[in-house]
Amino acid sequence: MIDFTQPTPVLLSEERQITETRRELVLNMGPQHPSTHGVLRVRLTLEGEMVVACDPVIGYLHRGVEKLGESHRYAQIVPWTDRTDYVAAPSNNLGYVLAVEKLCGIEAPERAQYWRMIMAELARIASHLVWLGTHALDIGALSVSLYTFRDRELILDIFEKFCGARLTTNMMEIGGFSRQIPPALPEMVRDFCRYLPKAIREYEDLLTENPIWLARTKGVGIVEPEIAISYSLTGACLRGSGVNYDVRKAMPYLLYDRIDFAVPLGTHGDVYDRYLVRVEEMRQSIRIIEQCLDQVPADGPLMAYESNYVIPPHERVMTTAEDMQRHFIWVIKGFSPPKGEVYHAVEHSKGELGYYIVSDGSPIPYRMRIRSPDFVNLQSLPYMAQGAMLADVVALIGTIDIVLGSVDR
């Protein structure tokens, strides 16, 4: 067992060890570096071109979402969750509304749950497309990003068709969806599902057997399974090391237990395996979306209106007295969940996204904690970068798949 309180010894080659004067150079990478995916700063200690120590400095995008959560009513926090991980906003909404629904003890109708799954999987594909484009761009394959951003537009068009927004969608609501599914939307999603596998083959043609890509990614940033578990990694970073943990399979939420899909696993735990895992995840997401579209009821309720925690529908507010009173209270005061604490995790595109909410019985959460996957995954960067080359650090930051809005919250 490795003692993690001690700094990891750096394996230097022999002639480097016998050098009497080690000439170390401290290099700041970021916060405005194009390959750090935002405002990440990495303080690198270099010896020649080899990384001796690596210290990620974060917090440049810290907006205090958790503190803001303690001063907003439950339904008002949903837009804040968009702003944490803005490339996969529906997944963030999903984690939060599921945690609040668990706290309140309500459940969205079946049709809404299917559409939530569809939107979350589309968000996963969109996030992976951004990741693939920027990761390849960092390593030097410029053309991939043109392809992936082209296809991400199609997903954003679907989001726009559904809720009017493209990036910060504010899509999910506590209890389901209050907006209707546009009649053309299922066919749009189906068209996208028919199209994307062809596009994924294009990306793979560009990368998977590309000798430059292989040289830059194979054997780089190896994380052994035990180390990955010890670093609390989740998502593709953990599965790339061969540990089978996917929240959708291990603890199915929504209706994932009715869906047939596979969890891709890596074998070596290097950058290349994590790339393969994420590309395969996109294909599995397509499978999930297609099954959801087959199974989803054509019509039916989209919101759990029978619950007291949900804002009543407009037509009932206008016709019945008690619903008008409920609507009034809901808007003026918000709703008060029971006292207690819940933790709910969803499989975000980056890993396990968990919301831990403590309620004191008031309409404002007493504590709202976001367990963001990127924050936890990013701390394995010093481990991966020990003894690596400077150019590999760019590949390592890319392979962790961070969004600084989610790291800093």
């Binding site: 503190k67 990694l233 007493y366 924050f375």
Partner: protein, 205 residues
């Protein structure tokens, strides 16, 4: 770790939406982790609470590391994944202890979660979990940054999200005002934004 070693997925579509079985038995007297911890740490064990089927074990803060190490290394429990470590400021809810340090554990082979809590007052220290889980490093640093809880045995306890020279205290404490203690002039504005909503200063032409 292959599929054969893992426990089967719990039964489909339970009665209530939150009754998932992902946290083990709901009765603390039947929960294997509660039984084992109560037996092994008779003095440090305080209580076991269930809400929405989520099992929470509360222990004394001195024993936190031993309890988590016991849960991790126990051959039948194997809570080997530290999902989350955070804290809650309980200032408005009780007199003391002031904070709750909340550790979310997960067992990858058994597919079960568990929450371990310990209470800590301002100025007291909590044993760090970094010797057990490397992933506790940044989570504890964030906890220190936001609440000022000191983790004893942490190799590198300094601020992480806020600047290193932040001298205004710890923002997730309940007495910390939402907009901070100080007024800051924003770029493009002549005077600081007022704390009361309404009359925002005009931007300079």
């Amino acid at each position: 770790m292959s599929d054969e070693q893992q426990a089967p997925v719990p039964a489909l579509r339970p009665r209530e939406p939150w009754q998932t079985g992902y946290w083990g038995p709901t009765n603390p007297d039947e929960h294997p982790a509660v039984i084992a911890v109560r037996q092994r740490f008779a003095e440090a064990f305080e209580e076991a609470v269930t809400f929405r089927d989520e099992m929470t074990i509360r222990v004394k803060r001195e024993a936190l590391r031993e309890v988590v190490a016991f849960l991790r290394d126990h051959p039948e429990l194997r809570y080997n994944h530290l999902t989350d470590l955070t804290a809650v400021d309980m200032l408005n809810l009780r007199d003391e202890p002031r904070f709750d340090v909340v550790v979310q554990l997960y067992s990858i082979p058994r597919r079960q979660r568990l929450r371990v809590k310990c209470g800590v007052n301002d100025g007291e220290t909590v044993p760090s979990l970094v010797p057990l889980f490397a992933g506790a490093n940044w989570l504890e640093r964030e906890c220190y940054d936001m609440f000022g809880i000191v983790f004893e045995g942490h190799p590198d306890l300094r601020r992480i999200l806020l600047p290193d020279d932040w001298d205004e205290g710890h923002p997730l404490r309940k007495e910390y005002p939402l907009r901070g203690y100080r007024d800051y002039v924003q770029p493009g504005f002549e005077r600081p934004a007022p704390r009361v909503r309404g009359s925002l200063p005009r931007p300079r032409p």
